[in-house]
Amino acid sequence: PWPQPQSIRTTLQQFALHPAAFHFLVNSTSQTCDLLTSAFDRYYKLIFYPYSYLNYILHPESPNNQVNYKPKKSLDDLRD
């Protein structure tokens, strides 16, 4: 990451992510926080659809900015 975190430990073990099988989950304190729900919305798009992300945040009302990219791998591919 940039900037370099204060402490980071990482291994070679990988986890896969897929837009159809990933979500953010919050604890009860955080559920009323509008800043957090909008951050989830942004980061979901940023992680899975980075190419359309900037248009989405700069022109959120535009119908042309619906996210409709097809992921390179289907969920079934990953299950296999």
Partner: protein, 434 residues
């Protein structure tokens, strides 16, 4: 590989409305099963942690997108990690300012120093004094309406970024004087010469105006701090004006015009303090012995910066460094290395003095910058400053940082932000606008 199905986010404290200088941005991120965990004290830490999480996810040939098993404990070294953009010398659209805020969030910068007006233009559309931009802006399309400002502040808030606006005075105010008679009339051979100098401290009307103006500013900008500038005041016009000269005599200032500047700033800081706001100032205010509130933040911009930091912190003020991060001085080659090497705690002083340094700001002055080049000139060079201000004090090796900065630039491109190449020949998997 296992699927990462969830990122559980736990925030200890209730949501705050706006970030502050004291915000807690620490977080812990753990990815070691099909459920990841992000824990923080505040919403601001969660936002920083989500940004880190997004950096850890990478395209993988077999998996589509992948993340490695990771544990991160993280917090910023400095609380104030700022970027100044000057929108007076060239206008920068709200859309471009938002793109810049997004780029800031991508590097965990948390203060947008909005240098909104200066000698050249006054694009701030004031509720109380609409004529200021009416005559002071380049034209009526080159203004920031109240709706624009509110929109920008909200965009920044969503990213945990504070907006500190600067209304610099008494110098750098030529654009203010096109409508409001607050500037000093300059004289030549005993007659007014139709030129104007800094604001005129000899007239009460100047301070009446400033009371109304800063009362509005205090309402429009929610951050506790307003930047009052105070740099580069030229005394020649004050010297030429007979009313100012008479006022100097009346006040017992002799021929020391720095005392007049001190008088002006003392009145101004008292006006702003009466609105309940705190203020940031350029270092000249302290150089000129103005008495300021204890929570004042002093911004050092002169060299040699180690001496300047030592002097300002010795006086007990919270201090920011910007001297070595004037990104508008563009040069060929890897200039980010010099920004990366500059450290705000590199000065002779006690531990207590070093703790008074709360961060710093990269500065992009607007003489040769507008929407055509501000993003690519600023980024990823400002990211070097961002790492210096966030990461541990011992993260100093530019060679070790080079490949990560290269990857970070490519991350910007993938996200649609046209960050310029900074390390010589290279390519990104996902090029800009390809």
């Amino acid at each position: 590989a296992t699927l990462l199905k969830r990122l559980n986010v736990h925030i200890q404290d209730p949501c705050e409305q706006y970030p502050t200088l004291e915000s807690d941005e620490s977080y812990t991120l753990t990815i070691n099963s099909d459920n990841g965990m992000l824990e923080s004290v505040s919403i601001w830490g969660a936002i920083r942690g989500l940004e880190t999480f997004s950096h850890l996810v990478y395209p993988d040939e077999n998996l589509g997108l992948a993340i490695n098993q990771t544990v991160i404990n993280d917090f910023p070294r400095f609380q104030h990690r700022g970027l100044l953009l000057d929108t007076s010398r060239h206008f920068i659209s709200i859309k471009t300012l938002k793109m810049n805020l997004e780029a800031m969030a991508n590097s965990k910068m948390n203060v947008f120093h909005f240098h909104i007006v200066d000698d050249q233009s006054f694009p701030y559309e004031s509720r109380t004094f609409p004529d200021l931009s009416g005559a002071g802006a380049y034209n009526q399309e080159h203004v920031y309406s109240q709706d624009d400002i509110a929109d920008l502040i909200e965009f920044a808030r969503q990213r945990g970024i504070r907006v500190i606006v600067e209304f610099d005075s008494p110098g750098h105010t030529q654009s203010w004087g096109r409508v409001i008679d607050v500037l000093t009339h300059c004289y030549d051979g005993g007659k007014p010469n139709n030129e104007y100098g800094p604001m005129d401290p000899s007239r009460n009307s100047t301070f009446d105006f400033l009371k109304k103006m800063f009362s509005e500013v205090a309402n429009v900008f929610p951050d506790h701090y307003v930047h009052l500038g105070g740099d580069e005041v030229n005394f020649d016009c004050w010297r030429s004006n007979p009313n100012v000269t008479a006022f100097m005599r009346q006040m017992g200032f002799g021929n020391d015009y720095s005392l007049l500047e001190q008088y002006y700033m003392q009145n101004l800081v008292n006006i702003v303090a009466s609105t309940g706001k705190g203020y940031a100032v350029w270092q000249e205010i302290i150089d000129n012995n103005v008495t300021v509130k204890a929570d004042t933040v002093v911004e050092v911009w002169k060299d040699p910066y180690p001496d300047e930091l030592a002097r300002v912190t010795k006086l007990g003020y919270r201090t920011l460094l910007s001297t070595c991060w004037y990104l508008n001085y563009i040069s060929y080659g890897r200039d980010w290395v010099n920004y990366y090497k500059c450290d705000p705690q590199n000065f002779p002083g006690t531990d207590a003095q070093k703790k008074l340094v709360v961060g710093g700001e990269a500065c992009m002055w607007g003489e040769f910058i507008d929407a055509t080049n501000v993003i690519s000139t600023t980024w990823p060079r400002a990211a070097a400053v961002a790492e210096r201000l966030w990461s541990a004090a011992n993260v100093t090796d530019p060679n070790a940082a080079t490949s990560r900065l290269e990857e970070h630039r490519c991350r910007y491109l993938r996200r649609g932000i046209p960050a310029a190449p900074v390390n010589g020949p290279s390519y990104c998997e996902f090029e800009y606008n390809r």
